[in-house]
């Protein structure tokens, strides 16, 4: 040991060197005393090292256009800084950086396991809404106004099933 390197966060001399091995991949981080405290290395309740890993992956992720989540206003730059997201919609909204980070920290990239009954039903309804919305627009563009009215009524019915909240 005895390597002197700079803190990954603030550039000061690093005194805490972390090495983590997951799936035969080695992840290293260097921090100064202050940042180590701040990042909660002394916090044993949760796996704060994985939070850090998220930082390491996001810090190293390629620079891409800053995306913003429409629902909550959180941006991918914020994600790079905090390692946490703003709202559930951020997962889709913030683009490939999420996928990159997730791939780097988990064993798989697709969910296996428990599924909530209500959420699955909601997704089905949402998919229906999306497809009927397309039909509605198409009908309007073709001036088939009776069809359009019919689709609009269907959409209203489906939307009320979901009871969407507008504000975030």
């Amino acid at each position: 040991m005895g390597e002197s390197s700079n803190c990954n966060y603030c550039g000061k001399t690093a005194t805490v060197h972390l090495t983590q091995i997951i799936d035969s991949k080695i992840h290293k981080m260097d921090l100064c005393e202050a940042c180590a405290q701040e990042k909660g290395i002394t916090n044993v309740e949760e796996n704060s090292l994985t939070d850090l890993l998220s930082d390491e992956a996001t810090l190293g992720a390629t620079e891409e256009v800053d995306k913003v989540c429409e629902r909550c206003g959180f941006s991918s730059n914020e994600f790079k800084k905090k390692g946490r997201l703003g709202c559930p919609a951020c997962y889709e909204a913030l683009g490939s950086i999420i996928e990159t980070v997730i791939k780097g920290m988990h064993k798989g990239s697709r969910h296996k396991g428990k599924v909530p009954k209500r959420a699955m039903k909601r997704k089905l309804v949402q998919d229906q809404i999306d497809s009927i919305d397309k039909k509605l627009r198409y009908a309007i563009s073709e001036e088939r106004y009776e069809d359009a009215a019919h689709y609009r009524d269907q959409l209203n019915e489906l939307r009320s099933q979901l009871q969407l909240k507008a504000e975030f």
Binding site: I21, E45, S54, K82, P88, Y91
Partner: protein, 367 residues
Amino acid sequence: MLLDSLINSKSELTNSSVVPTAVVLSTRIRLARNLNDFSFPGWAGKDRRLEVLALSQNAIKELSGMKDSRSITMQDLSELEKKILVERRLMSRELSSAEEGSGIIINADQSCSIMINEEDHLRIQVIRSGFNFRRVWKIIDQLESEMEASLNFAFSPDWGYLTACPSNVGTGMRASVMMHLPGLVITNQMEKVIRAVNQLGIVVRGIFGEGSEASGSIFQISNQQTLGESEGDIIDNLGSVLNTIIEQEHNARNQLIANDSAKLFDKIGRAYGILQNAHRLSSEEAMNLLSLIRLGIDLNALPNRLRRLIDRLFIECQPAHIQFALGKNTKDTVSLDQRDVHRAEVLRKKFAPLPSLDFEKAVYSTE
């Protein structure tokens, strides 16, 4: 008063429903869940957090598994009360410093606690004495399903349950056990074991004391990754690794006895003597002494029935518990020294009536 009822009631960790066994103290599963229509706690405004708190409290109090539960808002707790809850493993330190709109709901025997607006909207935890993932999963699975019936959980078919930090996405499950590994600690094998299990995506932490120290040779061992495997897979993988660690712990203990039993018995004997007679004990020292006594019980030098007492003392010797036992108002400053003196007094009283150590029957068996 909250603390009185919490500490004096029979809780799962201090008065467990099953007879405590060697090595594995308790099993815990935690699930992270969020409400679909709200921003995560770290980004949501105060009003929205309060809405989440109210929605969650209303939903949870209706659950069959949470009748007789206590709902507490963080704002209403003193610093001492928060520390006690952390020491009893009912909440995380992060919740202690959470903003307004955070709370916790705890059931009657303190085997289940649900944190609200910590890092995620909901952190559900079930903990039971002994080594039993299947049983704990059954309880928490049912609880979560009931909650899901009245709350919209954020979920995507691709990513699974959506969480504030991607490190928890998917199953949102952290499964862990508390293990007592004095054999591996004394024979200096912990580092090797930790490195080996890290390769398999498993994390080892010391849980009592500051930082990750191996206070009392008690470790929390848990899965790290939450996406790509089902809950059953995670538990099975973790379970088989844990069985390997248990075996290595047994081997280390047998090794210690075979190589120099007098040295080991001497350590345990001295620990017993100090616990019966000391007048000042730091929490660190108390933990290590209690750890040796638990080992002594495992060696049949003391009756099995005393394990429950030792496990209770692990918690009751923690700083906030001792401060509370001193009977001081939370506003009075209690010095470290006063706590250390009182801790020693508590231990002298508990150890006075115990039978003496008997190493005649000391043989290590893996029952």
